[in-house]
Amino acid sequence: MDEPILKAQGLTKKYGENVVFKDIDLAVQQGDIIVIIGPSGTGKSTLLRCLNLLTKADGGKIWLDGEEITAPGHNEDEVRQHIGMVFQNFLLFNHLTALDNVMLGLTKVKHLPREQALEKALSELKRVGLADRAGHYPGQLSGGQQQRVAIARALAMDPRVMLFDEPTSALDPELIGEVLEVMRQLALQKMTMLVVTHEMGFAREVANRIIFMEKGSIIEEGTPDELFLRPKFERTREFLWKITELYGHKHETTQPTEDL
C-alpha cells in the first residue's frame, strides 16, 4: 500500500479529566472517502481539529505525506494549507465577499499575484456553482451557498485532503442537497475526503470506508456494505438503525434486538 496522505497513531485528547478520545489510529489513503459516524459528543469534531492542528492533541502522532507534523518545531501554519477544513457553521469571513473569501488564502498565504488569485478563486466558485454570487457578502447568501463558498475557500488552497465537520448539520433540510451534491462532485474528482456527518445516504453511496466512533474510541470500521449490512457489533447495528430511521432512509438490516 502507498504512503497514506494523512496518518494518525495513538491520538489522544483530554480536557482535564475528561477524555475526548484516546488511542485513535487512522490512515487516509489517496482518493479515500472516509465517513466518520457516531453519537454526538464522541469526539469526532475534535478529532478533525486535532488532525489539522487547530487543537493540540495530548498524545499520539500525525503524519502528512509521511512527514510527522506533530514533531516539535514543525510549522503548523504551513501544514494547514494542505489540509482543507469545512466547518459545521461555515465560518466565512463576514466582512469579505464570496470571491474575497476564496482569494484571501491565495494572496495572503500562497502570495499569488492578484490576477492569478482572482482567476483561481473564480474557477473554484464555479466548481461549487456560485460564480454568479462572487460579489455577495456572506450575510447575503443562504446557508447552503455559504457552505459552498466555504468549500471553495478550502479547495482554493489545493489541499491534499479535505476535512468536513458536519457540513450539513446547520442547514435547513432543503439546503442540504446542494452541499452534498458539491461533495459528491468532489468525490468523483477523486478528492481525498474525511467527513463527519449524519447523512447516511451520502455515507452509503459515496464513502469507501466508514468509521463508527463512540465514547472516544473507534468501535468498528469497514466498507459501507460491511457496516450497513453486516456490522460486527450490536452497538453499530443499533446506532445505524436509529440514525437511518431518524433521517427517513430505508432500513437495510433487521431491527436490533434490544436497546443497549
Partner: protein, 226 residues
C-alpha cells in the same frame, strides 16, 4: 441677543485660535490613544500572561485616576525626576494615555465579539495567528466598534478643557482671557459652550458617515444573532 451675537463675532478670531489648539489636542490624543488602545486590547486578549498583566495594569491605572491628576503628574511631577515636558507635550501625553485606556476597552469588547470561529477559519487556510488578526479579526472588530467608540472623540474633545489648568492656549484658556477682559463671563462661556456643541455635532455626523461608509451588507445582522 443681537448684542451677544455681535460680541461673539468680535471675539471669534480669538476663539478660533483656541479652537485650533483644542482640535489639535483632540486629534493627537485620539490617534495616540487609538494606537495605545489597540496595542493594549490585543495584548490583553492575545498576549502572554505577562503581557496581559502589563496591559491590564495600564488600563486600570489610567481609567482609575482623574485625567487632571495624570496631567499634573506629567507636567509638574516629572520634572522632579529630571524629565520635563512642554505644556503641549504634557497635554498630548496625558490625553493620549488616558484615552488609550478607554479605547482599549472599547476595542477589546469588539474584538472579543468576533467569534473564536473566525480565528479558527483563518488558521484553517494556513494564515498565521498574526495574519488572521490583521486580515480577519481587526477589519470586523474595527467596524463593530464604531458606535461605542464614537463616544471617545466627543469625550476627548471636552476633556481637552483640562489643559487650561496648565495654561495650554486652548479654547477654554482663551475663554477665560476673554471673560476677564470683557467682564462678561456669561456671554463668553455661553459662546464657548456653543462652539463645543457645534464641533461635537460635526463629530457625530462624521462618525455616522464613517459607520455608513464601512458598513458590510449582512454583517450587522450576523453580529446581532445570539
Amino acid at each position: 441677543m443681537i448684542e451677544w451675537l455681535q460680541f461673539l463675532w468680535q471675539t471669534l478670531p480669538v476663539f478660533l485660535d483656541g479652537l485650533r489648539v483644542t482640535l489639535e489636542l483632540t486629534a493627537v490624543g485620539l490617534i495616540m490613544g487609538f494606537v495605545l488602545g489597540l496595542l493594549a486590547a490585543l495584548g490583553r486578549i492575545y498576549g502572554s500572561p505577562w503581557v496581559r498583566r502589563v496591559c491590564v495594569a495600564y488600563i486600570e491605572v489610567f481609567r482609575g485616576t482623574p485625567l487632571l491628576v495624570q496631567l499634573f503628574l506629567i507636567y509638574y511631577g516629572f520634572p522632579g525626576i529630571g524629565i520635563t515636558f512642554s505644556r503641549m507635550a504634557s497635554a498630548y501625553l496625558a490625553l493620549g494615555l488616558n484615552s488609550g485606556a478607554y479605547q482599549a476597552e472599547y476595542l477589546r469588547g469588539s474584538i472579543m465579539a468576533i467569534s473564536e470561529g473566525q480565528m479558527m477559519a483563518g488558521r484553517s487556510i494556513g494564515l498565521t495567528r498574526f495574519a488572521t488578526i490583521r486580515h480577519i479579526i481587526l477589519p470586523q472588530a474595527l467596524r463593530l466598534v464604531i458606535p461605542a467608540w464614537s463616544n471617545e472623540p466627543i469625550l476627548l474633545l471636552k476633556s481637552t478643557a483640562v489643559a487650561f489648568l496648565i495654561a495650554v492656549p486652548d479654547l477654554m484658556t482663551k475663554a477665560k482671557l476673554v471673560a476677564a477682559r470683557t467682564y462678561d463671563p456669561i456671554g463668553t462661556y455661553l459662546a464657548v459652550a456653543v462652539i463645543y456643541l457645534i464641533i461635537v455635532a460635526l463629530l457625530s455626523e462624521v462618525m455616522k458617515a464613517l459607520e455608513r461608509r464601512v458598513r458590510i451588507p449582512g454583517l450587522e445582522v450576523e453580529t446581532q444573532k445570539p
